[in-house]
Symmetry: C2
Subunit: 343 residues, 2 copies
């Protein structure tokens, strides 16, 4: 039961990271200020790529830093990387062994960029390649699907965002995340029942908007990896630009919508999906959104920039229980190995 256990470790993982990563994150924030860094480039793959999307939103809105998601194959395949000397280049990899992510960091450091590794393995090539290291410290992740390391990665990014500002409300908001995670875990019986109702779905769309877009991407990936359901993630805005053509009666839609400026548009979309008789499951901290379909309620009060840390947990639980309800073993997904060495 590694994966299920590791999902449950979320509150402890964040609690620990808030203590152990404070000093290295502060050092990176100092370097960003001293060097007047005005661009962040992130190299990541798979689940870690979703942490990069989270970074794009929160560093962009809270810290006014443009964030480019490096296409890692630029370095590894094409040996022709962009000029990065004035950038903070962040590599995110649970194992620290993804060669294309390491290649971006190597190249960036050679160019004189400020470099930062986010990894669970402080002895890994990625940790060695970067000047600064944020160790996730989750303990070994035995489940093939990344769950607690995704949570730790986005928590590390949230800490960096806070360290780059001087807002006294940030520290208490971060400190409140473990309790909100614990509350989300208490929804497990409900999530299990909803997953049981959806055991026959072979496909679904997973929707969010704005800062929760990363959550939609990561939720969809877990549903694919563990339950073999073709879950297709979309920004709610992009969904309305075309893929909404897919929606027919009973089409299954999963959605995340938490309090913030995206809510009016999410509610409009939910109305439209109801009109098309889609079957909607909503993870939200907002009563109006929760009334739109099957609902998993999050405790209110988490600020929007931290809401993705909390909202992914019901998604992870859903994917795990959906796999079980489909008679599959989420602890041993087929065709997957823990570390993929993409050149």
């Amino acid at each position: 039961m590694s994966t299920r256990t590791e999902i449950g470790e979320g509150p402890d993982v964040v609690e620990r990271l808030l203590a152990t990563a404070a000093a290295p994150v502060a050092a990176i924030a100092r370097a960003v200020r001293e060097r007047d860094i005005s661009l962040v480039v992130i190299a990541a793959r798979g689940t870690s790529d979703h942490a990069a999307i989270y970074a794009q939103y929160i560093l962009g809105t809270r810290n006014r830093l443009p964030v480019a998601l490096a296409a890692p194959s630029l370095a590894s395949l094409y040996r022709a990387t962009p000029r990065l000397a004035n950038a903070l280049v962040i590599g995110i990899s649970q194992s620290g062994r993804s060669p294309d992510v390491v290649a971006v960091l190597d190249d960036a450091r050679r160019q004189g960029a400020l470099t930062m590794a986010v990894t669970n393995d402080p002895a890994s090539e990625l940790a060695t390649a970067a000047e600064h290291l944020v160790e996730l410290g989750t303990g070994p992740e035995r489940g093939v699907a990344a769950t607690k390391t995704y949570l730790a990665s986005i928590a590390a990014i949230a800490m960096l965002s806070a360290a780059l500002r001087d807002d006294p409300s940030d520290a208490p908001a971060l400190a409140a995340v473990p309790a909100a995670l614990a509350a989300a875990l208490e929804q497990e019986a409900l999530v299990r029942d909803l997953a049981g109702d959806r055991a026959d779905d072979e496909r679904c769309a997973v929707l969010a908007r704005g800062i929760q877009y990363a959550t939609a991407r990561e939720w969809a990936l877990k549903v694919k990896e563990l339950a073999y359901v073709l879950a297709d993630p979309y920004s709610a805005a992009d969904f309305q630009h075309g893929p909404i053509a897919l929606v027919e009666p009973d089409f299954p839609v999963l959605a995340v919508a938490t309090a913030g400026p995206a809510m009016p548009e999410m509610l409009d979309l939910f109305e439209r999906l109801r009109a098309a008789r889609a079957r909607l499951l909503v993870v939200s901290d907002d009563q109006a959104a929760l009334a739109m379909g099957d609902a998993v309620a999050l405790v209110p009060g988490t600020p929007e920039w931290l809401a993705p840390l909390v909202a992914i947990v019901p998604g992870q639980l859903y994917a795990w229980h959906l796999a079980r309800s489909r008679g599959l073993d989420p602890e041993h997904p087929r065709n997957l190995s823990k570390v993929t060495l993409t050149r």
Copy 2:
């Protein structure tokens, strides 16, 4: 038959653009040099977002410019955009009426960024918001699915990349694209038959690596929009990090693989997919790749950076004929309107 007709206009569209856009593209390239621009930020949605992904690869590898894909909601929802004063900010929108794309350009221009609109409508808000305009000039696009305007958008980006270099081989390579497009259109009967064989697929993966990743994204979107098949696009690298778990015997996979450094990895993946008994359809200009499954051959000789212009055409034809083979009307996809005004 608007969409089918518009796919067929590809050679003319590119031929015309090469003439009409040469001067504005040269002006933008001059401004990039004079202002020593070192970052490109692109705002786009839906199909245009795939043009942005193409730009990320070719401006990154050929021009060493880091490319950030702006999350348009940063400007429109959060009113808190990154600092962009030293960037070239490109807005791509067929209609020029996507308010969130316009919002990014407005904000960037206020910040003093170099701004560029790529649109079919020179009187649109987007065209007005930007300092520089590249008019796609495809003539009206009546089909609800964007086909010829996608092609024109990536051709405009290719022209910008060429204008930012001084490589005498670029101009003749661009000039050869219309003939390669015409040759691709001649594969239509074959593509129609292959689409007929796949009429019962309800889902599929669409794979590519490196510079063709944009093609996989766009191909998948057309398959979803026109044929209502849940087509899931992946970088071949990301696919091996998890979603390959979905592959069971007869799982349908569409792939694009053209000559270049990504080919060895694509061939390895094709072997792995064959071993898992996936049903593979390959669009390629490489004999080894074409031998791996059902095959649509492209004429050899198109340089890799231009191959996405040619490879999307069989994808568009495939999506159109797949819709027909499923008894659907690709000229009137449900739930879609031509212009989506996402705030």
